[in-house]
């Protein structure tokens, strides 16, 4: 069997095994409703968010304690982002943007715990998030602006001859948005975790183990940064797309 052959070699590379989705209870196939490790860690992210934003602010203190300060910091950051990028009328969609930001942030950070599962490394999850934004923003654009929304693709400031060409480019870039939006997040999280796993496999050899451990530490630091930055990037792009829907035209 292949298993025994690999174990004999000593170096065992399974960098992608950490992303396998397994049922939490018992075995069997993964049906759409089966509680899996993905379910567990997404639910934990939800619990952490509720813990911070609801439990942390239960004092409603004028002078906040630590948890409340963090909750207010998150709130203020996303609120300011939505207001700065989309303007005052975008604040109506602030709870949704806040939901996205909190979920991605906490899923990313929880994924950094040893033995945890990184739900945002799965393209199914990030594509769903990106498509929710894409479809929502497109529908919103047509509902708010009617056919004026198509002005997004018709660059009226460009020379008339160039406009059809630009329209094609704009149209393509518009439909590429959800792809880049989702793959950016999943790719970053997956790559970082896989690299850590590869270094961890090297740690089995005593001679390279110190280098490997230092490398894991460095990668871990980088991943902490990536976890925050990718959540931020996803959110600010959502805000930008929302702005395009509310105020089309260049």
């Amino acid at each position: 069997m292949a298993v025994t052959e690999e174990e004999v070699e000593g170096l065992v590379f399974h960098p992608m095994d950490q992303f396998i989705i397994k049922p939490l209870f018992g075995g069997g196939d993964v049906h759409w409703f089966t509680p899996t490790n993905a379910t567990l860690w997404m639910a934990l992210a939800a619990l952490c968010i509720i813990g911070l934003l609801v439990f942390g602010t239960r004092g409603r203190a004028i002078i906040p304690n630590r948890l409340q300060s963090i909750a207010e910091l998150l709130y203020g950051m996303v609120h300011k982002m939505v207001e700065d990028v989309t303007g005052k009328d975008g604040l109506k969609y602030f709870p949704y943007v806040m939901t996205l930001f909190c979920f991605i942030l906490f899923a990313n950070f929880l994924a950094l715990l040893p033995k945890s599962f990184s739900s945002t490394s799965h393209i199914a999850v990030t594509a769903t998030l990106a498509l929710l934004v894409f479809v929502g923003v497109t529908v919103l654009g047509f509902v708010k602006n009617g056919t004026h929304f198509l002005g997004l693709f018709w660059v009226s400031s460009a020379p008339l001859a160039l406009r059809p060409v630009l329209a094609v480019i704009e149209l393509i870039s518009y439909f590429v948005r959800p792809v880049s939006h989702s793959i950016r997040l999943a790719g970053n999280v997956m790559a970082g975790h896989a690299v850590i796993k590869v270094f961890a496999a090297f740690a089995a050899v005593a001679a390279i183990a110190p280098v490997s451990i230092v490398a894991i530490t460095a990668m871990y630091g980088l991943e902490v940064l990536v976890a925050l930055i990718q959540a931020y990037v996803f959110t600010i792009l959502t805000c930008v797309y929302l702005k395009d829907a509310l105020h089309p035209g260049h």
Binding site: M16, I20, G27, T39, L53, V54, F103, S119, L129
Partner: protein, 212 residues
């Protein structure tokens, strides 16, 4: 991340599904857990080793993601965000209120200072008025006293003048009687006849020039 558990699960990369099934069947003999692990590995490995591309788990992930997102959205929009926004606006209100109260107190202090200054100015004016009044009164009394003194001095001077006049008159009279007596004695000693009227006239004649 460091899912060490998963390392125990064999990854069957380059085997066809039929091989996987036979493996599963073999593993089943060892126990149920091994069978699950093999099945999981088969799921994970069916797409060139990337669990991300295993379409059979997509429905599950999307379903649970939507559930989790709905829960988070519901809690955030119903409880957390209104509460935090309330707290922040309360704080803003408290700060604005405090600033306004401070402004009010500042205004009060300014008013109090103005009132104090005004009271001070009033007191000073009052004092000046009293001083002026006292000065006028004293001046009046002084004037009256001076006038009184002047009158007294004048009266005294008049009296003295009168007395001096009297003294002078009596001195003239004395001189006249002495002169008459001396003249009478001289006339007698020269053997002349004493004519009282003549002597008196002569003495008066002489004195008129000397005593006036």
């Amino acid at each position: 991340m460091f899912s060490l558990l998963q390392q125990t699960a064999p990854v069957v990369v380059e085997h066809s599904e039929t091989v996987t099934h036979t493996e599963t069947a073999q593993a089943a003999a060892h126990g149920a857990d091994a069978a699950h692990a093999a099945a999981d590995a088969a799921h994970g490995a069916s797409n060139a080793g990337m669990p991300q591309l295993d379409i059979s788990t997509f429905g599950n992930q999307i379903f649970w993601l939507l559930v989790v997102l709905a829960v988070i959205y519901w809690v955030l929009s119903r409880v957390a965000l209104p509460r935090i926004s309330g707290v922040i606006s309360d704080r803003q209100g408290a700060i604005t209120g405090d600033l306004m109260a401070a402004e009010e107190f500042k205004q009060k202090a300014k008013d109090a200072e103005a009132a104090y200054d005004k009271a001070l100015a009033d007191a000073r004016a009052e004092a000046n008025k009293i001083i002026a009044a006292n000065k006028a009164e004293i001046q009046k009394e002084l004037d009256a006293a001076i006038a009184h003194a002047d009158a007294e001095i004048a009266a005294r001077a008049g009296e003295s003048e009168k007395r001096i006049g009297e003294i002078r008159a009596s001195a003239v009279e004395d001189a006249r009687s002495v002169a008459r007596d001396v003249t009478e004695a001289l006339v007698q000693s020269f053997g002349g006849n004493v004519d009282q009227n003549l002597i008196n006239d002569a003495v008066d004649q002489r004195l008129k020039g000397a005593l006036q």
